[in-house]
Symmetry: D3
C-alpha cells in the first residue's frame, strides 16, 4: 500500500487518479536553461504541487470545487538538461497527445520559452487561436545575444506563427525600445502596466474565439511574487491577477489551454510565490474549464 499522494504534496491537491477520465491534464515543464539572469524555475512545478496541500479545494470566488472539473496531475515531463531544442520538441509532442484526446492542457513552467511549443501544438488544432499574455516583460526579442531559443523570445515567435494581431499582452513594463516599436508596427496589442481594465476592453472582441492564456508570474509585483528569475517593480497585486482570471472566466471567450510559468523556488522565501501560484492554478482550472 502506498499512502495517498495528495496527502503529502506529491500531486496537486484534488488530482484524479487516472489520466483517462480526466478533462484537464496538469503537467510540469521543468526547463530553465536559456534564462539570461537567475535560473531555478525548473523546480517550480514540484514546489507548487507540494504547497498545494495548504489550499482548499473550493473557490469562494467561483463557487466551484475541484471535483467538478476532473483533472489529472501528470507530473513533470522529463526534459534533457541544457538541450533546449529537444526539450521543446518533447513538450510539443506531449501537448499534442493531450489535445488529441480532447483534454485541456494546463501547464506549469519552467521558463517562459516552454510556452512556445505549446503555442505550436495549440495552433495546429485551433487555426484561429488568440493569445492572452500577462507578463512584466515583452518577450518579443528575435534572439538573445545571437541565440533564437531564449526565454526572451516566445511572444515574438507566436506572433510570427498566428499573426501579431492575434496576440494580446497585458501588464508589460519592461523591454527594449525596439520590442515596443516592433509590436506597434506589427499590429500586436500591448497594454502597458495594467491588466484588468484593458483586459475587460479586449475580452468582448474575442467572443467565441479559442484563446490560450499564458501567465508569467512576474506580471505580479515583486512584493507578490519574489520567487521568480527577473523581478520588476511596479507590477499588479495578486488580487488584481485573480480578478483578471475571473474576468476571463466570466467572459465569452473559449479558453482552450493555459499555463503559468517562471516560479523559481530558490528565490521564494517561505514558499510565498509557490503558494500564490497554486491558488492561481486552482482558479484557472475552475474558471477556464466549463
Amino acid at each position: 500500500m502506498r499512502f495517498d499522494e495528495a496527502y503529502s504534496g506529491k500531486v496537486f491537491i484534488g488530482s484524479h487518479p487516472t489520466w483517462e477520465d480526466a478533462k484537464v491534464i496538469l503537467y510540469g515543464m521543468p526547463m530553465d536553461w536559456t534564462v539570461s539572469y537567475r535560473p531555478g524555475s525548473r523546480f517550480g512545478p514540484n514546489r507548487i504541487r507540494e504547497v498545494s496541500i495548504g489550499l482548499e479545494e473550493y473557490s469562494p470566488y467561483l463557487d466551484r470545487e475541484l471535483h467538478e472539473v476532473p483533472f489529472f496531475d501528470a507530473g513533470d515531463i522529463p526534459l534533457p538538461f541544457g538541450n533546449a531544442q529537444k526539450s521543446l520538441d518533447l513538450i510539443e509532442e506531449y501537448v499534442d497527445s493531450i489535445l488529441e484526446k480532447g483534454k485541456f492542457p494546463l501547464g506549469m513552467g519552467g521558463e517562459h520559452l516552454v510556452s512556445w511549443p505549446v503555442f505550436r501544438a495549440m495552433y495546429k488544432k485551433y487555426p484561429d487561436l488568440a493569445i492572452i499574455h500577462m507578463d512584466a516583460h515583452t518577450d518579443l526579442r528575435e534572439e538573445y545575444e545571437g541565440e533564437p531559443l531564449s526565454h526572451s523570445t516566445p511572444i515574438r515567435k507566436v506572433a510570427g506563427l498566428i499573426g501579431p494581431e492575434n496576440v494580446y499582452s497585458f501588464g508589460i513594463r519592461s523591454g527594449m525600445k525596439e520590442e515596443f516599436e516592433w509590436a506597434k508596427e506589427a499590429g500586436m496589442h500591448i497594454s502597458k502596466f495594467e491588466v484588468l481594465e484593458p483586459l475587460k476592453q479586449v475580452l468582448p472582441k474575442l467572443k467565441g474565439r479559442p484563446v490560450y492564456v499564458t501567465i508569467d508570474i512576474d506580471v505580479l509585483d515583486p512584493a507578490h511574487a519574489p520567487g521568480t528569475g527577473t523581478v520588476d517593480a511596479g507590477g499588479i497585486t495578486s488580487k488584481e491577477l485573480l480578478a483578471s482570471i475571473h474576468a476571463i472566466a466570466g467572459s465569452d471567450v473559449h479558453v482552450v489551454g493555459a499555463d503559468l510559468v517562471e516560479v523559481a523556488p530558490v528565490y521564494d522565501h517561505s514558499d510565498q510565490t509557490a503558494n500564490t501560484a497554486s491558488k492561481l492554478l486552482r482558479e484557472m482550472l475552475l474558471g477556464f474549464v466549463k
Copy 2:
C-alpha cells in the same frame, strides 16, 4: 542592577512596570500544536516584542502616545507542549483574572485556536458580546479530521456560544463550501475578500455593543504577511488593515478585548511580519482603549 528590559526588546516597547496600575494587559499565547500545515506561531509573541524596539511610541494616525494608555506586557502564558485542552484551560483562567480586575485583555497568538478560551472568558463577562473577526479563512469547521480542538474551528465554536448572528467575519477568502453554506444558513455574517468597506457598513449596527476583535494576520496578503502558517493570495494591504482598525477606533462600538494571532517568525524573512504586527498592536492598543 538589571538594565532596562524595553531597551533590548524583552517587553513590548512602552510597557509599564507593574500589572497592578495598568489598564491593559498584553500577553502571549505561545501555542501551535493543532495546526495542520506549517507550525511555528508559538514563537510569534516574543519576536513581536523583540522588534517593537523599532517602533515609535507615538501614533500619527491617532495622535496618541503609548503612555496615555498604561499597559503591562505580562510575557507568555506557560503552556504545556502538545496538550491542547490544558493549554486552553490555562488561557481561559488567565483572561478571567484580567477581566476580574477590570482590565482590557490584548492577546498575541499562537494559532487561532487560542482565541476560543478568550471568547469564553469574554462571554462570561459580556453576555451580549459580538465578535469582529478578520481572517483569510472561515475557521468554521466543526472538527479537523476528527479532532474538535483544531485551529480551523474557533469561529464555529464561538458562533455556537454567542449565536452566529453575533459573529462578523471580514476578508474571508478560503474555506470549504460547507463552511460558507453553514454560515449562510446559520445567519452568521461573512464579508468575502474585503474588510474596510463592509466593516464600515457593520459598525453602526454594533453601536454601544461590547465587541471583541480577533485578527488573524493572514487576513493580510502574503506580500504583507509572509510570516504565517497558511498564506493565501488576494488579501488586503497593511494600509487597509490599519484603516480598518482606525475605523473601529473611530466608531461607537465598545471594544472590550482583542487579539492578533498566527505570526510565525520562522517563515518571516527579516521580521517583516513581526514588525507589522507590532505596529498593528500599537494601533489596536491606542485605538481600542479609551
Copy 3:
C-alpha cells in the same frame, strides 16, 4: 501517462514500483506535535525524498547499488495533527503490517517519539531485541512537564520495555543530570560525546542479536545538521556517522529495522541536512539489509 515519480523527487530515488516484491519498506512518520522547542520535522520525510534526486544509486563505500536491495517508498503515514496517542497507534499498526510480511522497516521522522511505537512492534517480533541509539540527547525523561508522550521520552520507554541493559546510546552530549544518573543505576549503556570508537567496542557483544538502529540526526554537529529542532554543539561529523553506519554494516549484528528522525527542513538552509539524510538512508539501506 504519469511521468516517472522518481524523476521529480516524489519518491526516494531508486524506489521499486510495488510494495509486494520489495524487501524493505521506506515510510515517513510526519509528526512533530510534542516537541518542546522548534517544530517542523513533520516535513522532513518529503524533503528527504525530494532531494534524493541528487544522489547516485551506487555506494562507493559499500560497493553496492540500490537495485540490489529492492525497497518500496510507501510515502508518509497519514497522522492526525496534534493527536499524539492516535498517531503512535497508527505507526505501530503499520510497522506490524511490514513485519508480518517479513520486510525490513526503514522509517523517517518526524520527532523522535515516533520511534516508540516502532520499538513496540519490533519487540513483539524480536523478544531479544537490542537498540543502538545515536543522538545528542538522552531522551530518557519519564515525562516532559507532566506529559508522558513527549519527544524527550522514547529511550526511557524502550528501556522499560526491553530492559535498560539492552539499550546502547552513543554520542550523547545533552540531558538532565537525573537522566544520566538513572541510566547508570539502571544498567543502560551510554557513550558520551563519541560514537564510532565506543560502537566498535559494543558491536562484538551484540553478535547475532536482532538490533534496531535509531538515529536522531542531531547526533551530528550543528555544522553538519543545522536543519533540526534542537541543535547542540560538539557533535560528530557526517564522515564519522557514515563510518559508524558502515561499522554496523560490517559487523555480525542482525539489523532488523532502522530509522532516521528529526530532520526539519524549515531550519535547513539549501537543504543541507536533507541531502545528508538522504545519503545516510541510502547507506543504511545498502549496509543494514543483506
Copy 4:
C-alpha cells in the same frame, strides 16, 4: 583586457566609460554607523549595481533610454568606518566636485544621514533650494540620545539650513509627537501617509525652483521594500513611488540632484529591494535629467 564591467554587475548598467563627458555622476555613500536599529545599508550601493544587470536600459514609462542621459558610475566614496563626521566631510567634498563641473549628482546610500552633506553642497550652489523628501520617518530629531550626528536628524538639519518652509516631506508615517509638532510650528510641509496626491498639489508651487529629491526606500511598504533597516507597515507601493517620480519628471520643477538611501541587502531576501531600487534609479535618472 578586462571584460566589460557592466556585464558582470560591477557598475550600474549603461554607465558611460568616463567621468569627464558624463552629465550625471552616480556614486555610493556606504555609511551606516549611526543607525539605531538594524545596520547594513553600507552594502546597498554595490548590491544595487550588481542586480542592475537584470534591468532593461529603456523606460517604457518615459520612452527614453539610458544612453540619452550619459551618466558615469563612480563607485563608492571610501568612507572611514565608524567616523561619522569625517565621512560626511568626504561626501560634501565629493559632491562639491561634481557640482563644480556642472554635473548632476545622483547618490546611493547608505543611511539617510549621508544626505546631510549633500544638502550642504547643493545649498552652496543653489541658495533658493527646495527639498522633496519621501520617507516613512520624519527624520526631524535634533539628536538621538545625545548624538547630533544620527540617521534620525538629516531633515531637521536641512530645515535649519534652507528654512523649514522649503522642505516638503511625503509619505511620513512614523516619528515622535514632538517632531510632528515642531514641523507644524516651524512651517515645514509634511504630508502624512500619502505621496502621489499631495505631491501633485505641491509641484506647481515649486515651478522653476531648484529642487533636490531625497528618497528613503522605506517610504515603500515593507511588502515592497523589506530590505531596509527600519520597516514600517502602511506604506505606498512601488507603483505609486514610480508614479511619484514620473510626476516630478513631468512637472516644471528644476531637479538639480537626487538620492535614494537605506537599501540594506542583508535583510533583502532574493534582492527584491535592490532590484526595485535599481529600477527607481533608472527612472530618476531618465526623468529628472533633461
Copy 5:
C-alpha cells in the same frame, strides 16, 4: 503577575533572580559600530539569551548544574549608537562595579573592541593579569585606516597595557604581516591555526596566575560559526573549542573573568551560532567559576 522570564528566553536560562546574591554577572555589550566589514553583533547577546531555552542546565562534560554557580543575567548595557568612546567608558564603569563586589564578569559581545575596557577594569584589580585569547584574527593593529578605536585593535591595546609577554593568542589564522612580526618582536605569544594542543602547553606556565579569557566566536571554522562578521576558513570545530574550555577549567589557572564576542544573528541561519554560543557560555560559567 509577569510570567517567568526564563520561560520565554528573556534572560539566559537558569539566571538567578537577583544581582546581589549572584556570584557571576552575565551582561551584554551590544556595540558593533567600528567593524570594517559586516555589522550586526549588537544583536548577539539577546539572541543568545533567546535560544538558551533549548539548553539543558546540566553539563555532562563537567558534571555540574547551573544552580551550583549562581549567576545573574543583567541584560545589555545601554550603549550610545555610533559613539565608540562613550560606549567603552560605560562598559569599563560597569565592569568596575562588578569587580568591586567581588563578582565574576562574564560578558557577551558585540564586536571585539568591547573587550578593551574590560581588560582595563580587570587590570586595575589584577596587576599580574594574563590574557588567553582565542580568535581567527590577530586584532593587533594600532589603528584601522587612521582610527585607533577599531575592532582590529583590542589585543594590541591590551598588550600595551599589561605587557605583550602576558598575552597568549590561539587559533590565529588571519592578520597583516606586520601584526605577526610585531608580536614576534614584542614577545607576545601567538599559536597559529591550533588551539587545544598549544593551550595545553601554556596552561602550566600560567599556574596560579589571574587570567582573563576572551573568545572571538570566529576562532571556530565558518562551518561551526557562520553567524559572525568576518568568517575565515580553516578554523577549529566546536568540539575542539569545548575541549579547550574544559582544559582551562581543569587547569590551575585562576580565571577571573571572561567574554565571548562577535556573534551576529543576521548572518546566522536558524540560530546555529547563537545556539553554540549559549552552550559555550554555559561551559565557561560552569568551568571557570569554582
Copy 6:
C-alpha cells in the same frame, strides 16, 4: 575619478591594475547551463570577488603577500546563455591568449564543465600535462542522458585527451558504479574519500611534471561548502583542503594553471562558501605561482 574598485569588491582584493605586467590572470567562467540538479554557479565568480574584501592580503600559512605575485582580475568572460559549445570555445580561446603571454591562468567557475576547454588549452602547451582533481564526484560520465556536454563529464574527457594514467582524482565519494569501474580498468587514479594523505603519496611521483589543479568546491563537506549545486555528505574540512593546497605548494610539481569551480551563491547563506573560496584562491595563488 572612479573610486578604487578593490575597495568595493569589484575586483579580487589586491588585483594589479593592468593585464600586461601581471604574472597571473584571474578570470571567471560564469556558466551553469548543463547542470542536472541545482543551477546558480554562474554567479559564483562575482560573489567571490565581492567578499574578498574581508580577506587579508597576507597568508600566515605561506608567509607571503599578494603583491609578491602580481595578478590581474580580468572579470568574467562573457558567455552566451544556454549555448554550451560556444561558451566552451570562448573559454579555450581566452586561456590560449593567457598562455601565449606566458601567464598563469587561475579560473573561477561556473560549473565543472568549464574546466574542459581549459584542459584543452593547457594540453596544447604542455603535452606531458598531469591533472590533480579534487572533487566529491567522479565526473567520469561519457554523457548525461544523451548529452556529451554535461557537468558530469569533464574528467572523462580529459582522461581521453591526456591519457587516464595522467589523471589523479582525490576525495571522490559519489559516482556511478560504471565510472569507478572504468577508472580502474583505464588506469586512472582515484583516491576515494580522502585528499591529503593520498595526495602526499602522489606528489613525489609527479616531480617536475607540469600539473593543472582543478578543485570542485564540493570536495568539501556540505558543512564547509553549503553553497554549491550538489552537496554530498562525508567530505573533507576546509582545514584539510588548505593543507592539501599547501602540500602541493611545498612539493616539486610544476603547477601551470588551476581553477576552483561550482560555488553557487544562491544556496550559500551569508556567503560562507564564497568567503572560503576567496581564501582558497589566495592560497592557490600564493602557493602555486613561484
